[in-house]
Amino acid sequence: MGARVRVVCGGMTDLGRVRSNNEDCFRIVTQLNLFVLADGMGGEAHGEVASALAVETVVNHCLDAEANPAAQVLGEVQPNWSANTKRLLTAVHLANRNIFKSAEEHPEQHGMGATLTAAWIDRAKLSIAHVGDSRAYLLRGGSLLQLTRDHSLVAEQVRRGVLTLAEAEESDMQSVLLRALGAQPEIEVDAEEHILFPRDVLLLCSDGLTRMVTEPEIAGVLQAETDPVRGAEELIALANERGGPDNITVVIVRVLKDSKGWFSWLRRGARKNSGSNGNVGGK
């Protein structure tokens, strides 16, 4: 612990089989180990505008952290949080403001919005910020652990004991969100910190995946396929096999084993693993 953790990562987004445009968007910023995913909503092409604006705002605010570390912190923070967690939380609040402002300035964009799930890894610390019904999962010790909770009506009803999980999955209200970026001038953003261990696998995904593919299936693919890009492809293919009614986006980040062994310097050249590096845009 303490040392920078090594990760391999990759992501992919897909139109699905029914929609004519992709309102999902994601970005991987390898120099920061920052991963951002958004799912847009709104008529015409405005969902795409909202999700792209959300991702861009969050990425830019985090990239700016080094040059401008003293920027104002927005939202409710816990005092023991790292600078990164506070930065990420602030970035999501800024994204909300930007989408809301854009919709006010352009009447045709009225009603547009986006979900957003972002993860930032610094050393062994994982910061998560989240609004909406995209999800972050951690595969650890064979268990798939959900790190976010959906801000949807049915999920809230399950939490209140009104619906069972099975009823929620059958509900025709699954698309009703209680929180999304851009719907209101100010919103509540969930943020949390976790520790990462070697061999942890982080997954960010849009609801186009989780509504079509079960958690045991997701866990199975993450365990069996060690290449993040191929893992993402497989998960997307599974969702499409079942009709692919919505856009599907998957980002996979694998934490590598500690290289504290005697000959670890020998392996240094092999670090740039897999062809998944670089800024991968949505669409």
Binding site: M1, D39, M41, G113, A124, K125, D133, L138, R140, G141, G142, S143, L145, Q146, L147, T148, R149, D150, L153, A155, E156, Q157, V158, R159, R160, G161, V162, T164, L165, A168, D172, M173, Q174, S175, V176, L177, L178, R179, A180, A183, Q184, E192, H194, I195, F197, D207, P245
Partner: protein
């Protein structure tokens, strides 16, 4: 939200909110408001909203339902009315917004939505009030907040109890674990607890934990009072009020 207060003498015995679902009153324990008194029939009366008004209906009870000392079969209720059932009194408080009829709202407001949409604040408040009212009347007196807690029953840890606030609670030797194990050969991450929508799940880490003496074979949902054992530590999972 409108509510009913069950009184015995001058003492409030219980309060329940009135939502879209009827509140049933009677001696049987499956009533929303169960009144343990022989003068009360098993299913004595029910109170519900109709066209924005709170209504009480007697369910052919033996000793009758009285509103402000008048025996009724059915009556519209007003703020401050007193319903007498056996030796108990139910005080009516209709202040607060009348709830939307939940069932009809569910059917008409949602003609199968494929496009994602966000509820505006007002709709959202009303729907959540409905959800809360249903939740509360289904498992009565659930109004108190319950805090999931791990009490240490045995073993070497850095605290005697832990309140679970995160989605993920790590039990292990790691400096960043929530429940920190002390000792030479303890694993960095022995086990973990994941908070999900429908409850708390214990999952294996470097060790396979046991719940109530049985080793788990995958994520196991924890119930109030479960005893978790892992890496020489014994923890009691409880919901504290």
């Amino acid at each position: 939200m409108p509510k009913l207060s069950l009184m015995f003498g001058n003492k409030i015995v219980r309060e329940v909110p009135v939502g879209g679902r009827p509140v049933t009153i009677g001696r049987a324990p499956d009533n929303d408001l169960s009144v343990d008194n022989l003068a009360v029939s098993n299913y004595h009366a029910k109170i519900y909203y109709e066209a924005g008004r709170m209504v009480v209906e007697d369910l052919d009870s033996l000793n009758g339902t009285f509103v402000n000392d008048l025996r009724i079969e059915r009556a519209t209720l007003h703020d401050g009315d007193k319903i007498h059932i056996g030796k108990h009194t139910i005080k009516v408080d209709t202040s607060g917004d009348a709830p939307l009829p939940w069932d009809s709202g569910r059917k008409t407001a949602a003609p199968r939505i494929n496009e994602t949409m966000v509820l505006d604040t007002k709709e959202r408040r009303q729907m959540l009030q409905q959800a809360a009212a249903m939740g509360e009347s289904m498992q009565f007196a659930a109004a108190r907040v319950k805090v999931p807690t791990l009490m240490v029953l045995g073993g070497n840890t850095d605290q005697k109890e832990y309140i679970l606030t995160n989605k993920l609670t790590v039990i292990g030797k790691s400096a960043m674990a929530t429940v920190r194990l002390k000792g030479w050969f303890k694993p960095q991450m022995a086990a973990q607890i994941n908070q999900r929508d429908d409850g708390y799940y214990l999952g294996p880490g470097d060790k396979v934990p046991s719940v109530n003496g049985k080793a788990i074979s995958g994520p196991a949902r924890l119930s109030d009072g479960d005893v978790i054992e892992v890496s020489g530590v014994k923890l009691n999972f409880i919901f504290r009020e």
